[in-house]
Amino acid sequence: MGNTMLEAAQHQWHPIASSEELEYRHTFHGQLLGREFAVWRADDGNVNVWENRCLHRGVRLSIGINDGTELTCQYHGWRYANRTAGCTYIPAHPADSPARTICNRTYPAVERYGLVWSGEAPQGDPPGVALLDGTDVLSLRPIPVNADLETVHRQLTAYVFQPNEGLDGAKAAVSVETSGDLSIGLSSVSGDCKTQAVFFLQPVDSDRTVIRGVLAGMPAHKAQLDVLHHHNERLSALRERCEAEASQLPQPEKLQPVIQPVSEELAGMPEQSTSGRNADLRVKIARKWSTAEGIAGFELVSIDGQLPTFQPGAHIDVHLPNGLVRQYSVTNGPGETQSYKIGVKREPDSAGGSQCLHDDVREGDVLAISEPRNNFPLRRDAVKTLLIAGGIGVTPILSMAQALYHTGLDFELHYFAQDDSHLAFPDILETLGDSLHTHLGLDPEETEQCLEGLLADYQPAMHLYVCGPGPMLETTRHTADRLGWPDQAVHFEYFKNTHEIDDSTSFEIALSRSVMTLQVPAGTTIMDVLRDNGVSVPSSCEQGACGTCVATVLEGEPDHQDVYLSETEKKRGDRIMTCVSRSKSARLVLDI
C-alpha cells in the first residue's frame, strides 16, 4: 500500500469484524493497518474497540476476560470499564482506587450492514452503500488472505459467483457495479435470478487483507447455508490465487502503528487552579424520579462526550443553582458508563441542597459536576464482604454490591431503613438476589443488637463497609471494634462531619516541596492558608468527611478533627485533612 493511500486509509472507516463475531462474553482479536484491537461487546450491547495492550505490562487484552461489563487482563488482573476503558481495579493495590489517568485508548465503533466499523481516526460517518441500504443483508464468512490490498482488489474484480436462487443454474454473468479502493460491488445474473453483493476489503497489514462480503437480500432460511458454502468455496479459491500471486512479489514492509500509551490530556499534569472544587463536567438530567419515600433519583448524562470512569464507592460534587455544592455517591453497577445515577434524600433541616434538587431542578436541566473521586474504594480480595447501609447511605453501597455480585464474590448487603417504602433503588436491589437483607423499622437499640449479630463472626480477610447516619456509623464501628474487627478491615463513609471544629489554635506549616513556611492563625484552615498563597489543594466536601484534601505529614503532630481517617490512621499521624484538621505541635511539615 502506497504512503498516500495509507494515510488516507487512516482517516477512513473500515470493517474490522462481523457483528455476529462479537459473541456473548467473547473478546475478538482484530487488526487494521498494522494496529491490533481488542474488540468486545458488553452486555448492554455497546461495542468496545480498544488498543490491544494492557497499560500495565502490554499484554494483549484480546485474551482478556469479557465479563459483560468490564474487560480483565489475564496477566495481573487489571479491570477496564465498558465504554470508557478506564481502569476500575488493580488487584496489586486492593485498597486503592486506580488513578484517572489509567485509561486505555479507545477507537470508534459503528455497526452497519452486519459489520463492525472502526478506524484510527475516521472522519464523518461510515460510508453508506446504496446496494445494501434498505434491504436485509447476509454476511458471508470473512476470508483472511495473506496478500496485499491491491492484489486482492484486482482478483475480486474478476470474482464469479452464482445468484442465490440459481446456485446450480447456468454460469452467471457477473458485472462490477461499484468499485472503490476498499470495496467492490458486484452483481450476478443467471437467467431470471440476480444477486448483488458488496465485498469490503479490510487492510489488516501491508501483506494481509480480509475480504468481508455482504449479500443484498436475505436468502430463504433453508438456502442460506448453501449460499454461504458457495461463496466460501469460491472465495477460498480466490484466496489461493491471491496468495500464489503475492508470494511472487517482494515481501512488503510491515506497517508500524504508533502506540500512544494514553491521551495527552490524561498524561499531562492537571492545570493549576486556585479553587479546589473543580466542576469540569456539564451534565443534563436525563431522568428524575421518586425512587423511595423522600428520595429522588437523578440520572445524569454528559452533554459533550464520554463521562469519566467511576469506581464503586466514588462520589461526585454537584454544583447547585442556589450556589451550594453537595457530594453524592454514584450508585451505578460495573460497566454502566453512559450516565451517573445518584440518589438524593430530602433533608428538611438542611441548608437547602437537597431541597433545591427536589423542588427546583428538573429533567432537562444542566448541572456542573466534578469528575468522580473515590475515597471509599472497594477491595476485591476479601474472603467475604459485609456491606452495611443505613437509609440514604445505601448509595455508595449499591455500587459496591453490584460490583461484588457481578464478579461472583461472597458478600452480604444489610440495608437498614424505616420501612419498605423507604428502600431506595428497588430496581437495583432486586438484582442482588439472596445477598440482600433488609432490616426495617428498628430503633437504635434494636439496630445495635442486630449489628452485634451481623458482626459476630469476624474471620481474617473479611472486610466491612458501612455508610449511613452518624450515630449508626459510630455504633457499627464500636461494635466491630468490640467484636475483634481490626481497624483496617472496617471502611466507612460519613455524610458529614458533625463534630464541632476547634479552630482556636495557631501554628506554622512548612511545605517541603514548595519550600514555603506559612502561618495558620486561629479561625483559618490550613487549606485557606495554602490557597491564599497560591498553592492548589483539591477538595470536595470541605468539612472533613470525604478525604479529598488529604496531605502527607512529614513532621509534627496533627490535631485530627475529621471523620474520614480511622483511629489507626489518626494515631499513625502521617496524613491530615487540610480542610478541618490542625496541629498540636507548633510546626507541621507537609509533603506539598
Binding site: 459473541e23 462474553r25 436475505m218 442460506q224
Partner: protein, 222 residues
C-alpha cells in the same frame, strides 16, 4: 488408581488431565523429566513405551500409549453417559476418529513449532507453521459452519466429544510456536466454549475464560 506418566508442559498429557478432570476420575501423576532430562528416552521408560513418547496411562493392568488412544479408553470406560465417546453410534465414532487423526496433525505441526521455539528442537519451523496454518484454516471453516448450524462442537451433537479435547491443547498453545490465531475467529470462539466445559482446568500457557457462554449467531430465521 490410574497412573499417568506425565510431563507438566506437554499438551498431549494435558488433554488427559483435562478429560479426567471433566469426568471426575482420580489419577496419580508420575512426572517424567521430558526436558531437559529426556527421561522419556531412558531405559526404564522405553520398557513402558518403546516409542519413547509421553503420555502413558496404566489402569487396572491396561498399559496404553498415545494420547488419542487413551482419550478413547478413558471416555469409553469412565463416561457412563456415553456423551464423550458414543460407542453405540458408528457414524459418530467414525467422525470422532477422523478428528483424532486431525489432532495428530496438529501435534506434528503446531506442537512441533512450539518444541522448536520453547525446547530447542531442530525442526523446519517454517514448514511446521505453514502446516499448522493449513490445518487451522480447515478447522476454522468447519467450526464456522458448525456455528451456522447451531452447533458448538467439532462433531455434531449437543455435547462435546473427545475430538474437542484432542484438538484443543495444541491449538490453544499455538502462540508459543509463533502461530497466531488472529485469522481464526471461529477457533477462538470454540476455545472459549471448551474453557467453559464443567471441570475445565488450565496448564501453563492456557488462560481460563470468564463464566457464561451461549452463541448468538446461528442462521437467522428469515
Amino acid at each position: 488408581m490410574i497412573k499417568l506418566y506425565d510431563y507438566e508442559l506437554s499438551g498431549n498429557c494435558y488433554k488427559l488431565r483435562l478429560l479426567m478432570n471433566m469426568l471426575g476420575v482420580d489419577y496419580e501423576a508420575v512426572p517424567v523429566d521430558f526436558y531437559p532430562g529426556r527421561e522419556h528416552k531412558s531405559d526404564w521408560f522405553l520398557k513402558i513405551n518403546p516409542l519413547g513418547q509421553l503420555p502413558v496411562l496404566v489402569d487396572d493392568g491396561v498399559v496404553l500409549r498415545d494420547a488419542q488412544a487413551i482419550l478413547v479408553y478413558l471416555a469409553a470406560k469412565y463416561d457412563p453417559s456415553g456423551n464423550w465417546y458414543p460407542v453405540d453410534d458408528p457414524a459418530k465414532l467414525g467422525d470422532i476418529s477422523q478428528w483424532l487423526a486431525f489432532a495428530d496433525g496438529i501435534t506434528s505441526t503446531a506442537s512441533a513449532a512450539r518444541l522448536h521455539e520453547g525446547l530447542f528442537y531442530d525442526f523446519d519451523i517454517d514448514a511446521c507453521r505453514a502446516g499448522a496454518h493449513r490445518l487451522f484454516r480447515i478447522l476454522d471453516e468447519h467450526l464456522w459452519f458448525a456455528e451456522k448450524q447451531d452447533r458448538d462442537w467439532i462433531c455434531p451433537g449437543a455435547h462435546p466429544t473427545i475430538a474437542d479435547i484432542a484438538c484443543f491443547p495444541y491449538v490453544i498453545l499455538s502462540e508459543e510456536g509463533g502461530i497466531s490465531r488472529q485469522d481464526y475467529p471461529a477457533i477462538r470462539r470454540w476455545c472459549d466454549r471448551v474453557k467453559r466445559i464443567q471441570g475445565f482446568i488450565v496448564m501453563s500457557g492456557v488462560f481460563p475464560a470468564g463464566p457464561a457462554g451461549g452463541r448468538l449467531n446461528a442462521l437467522s430465521a428469515a
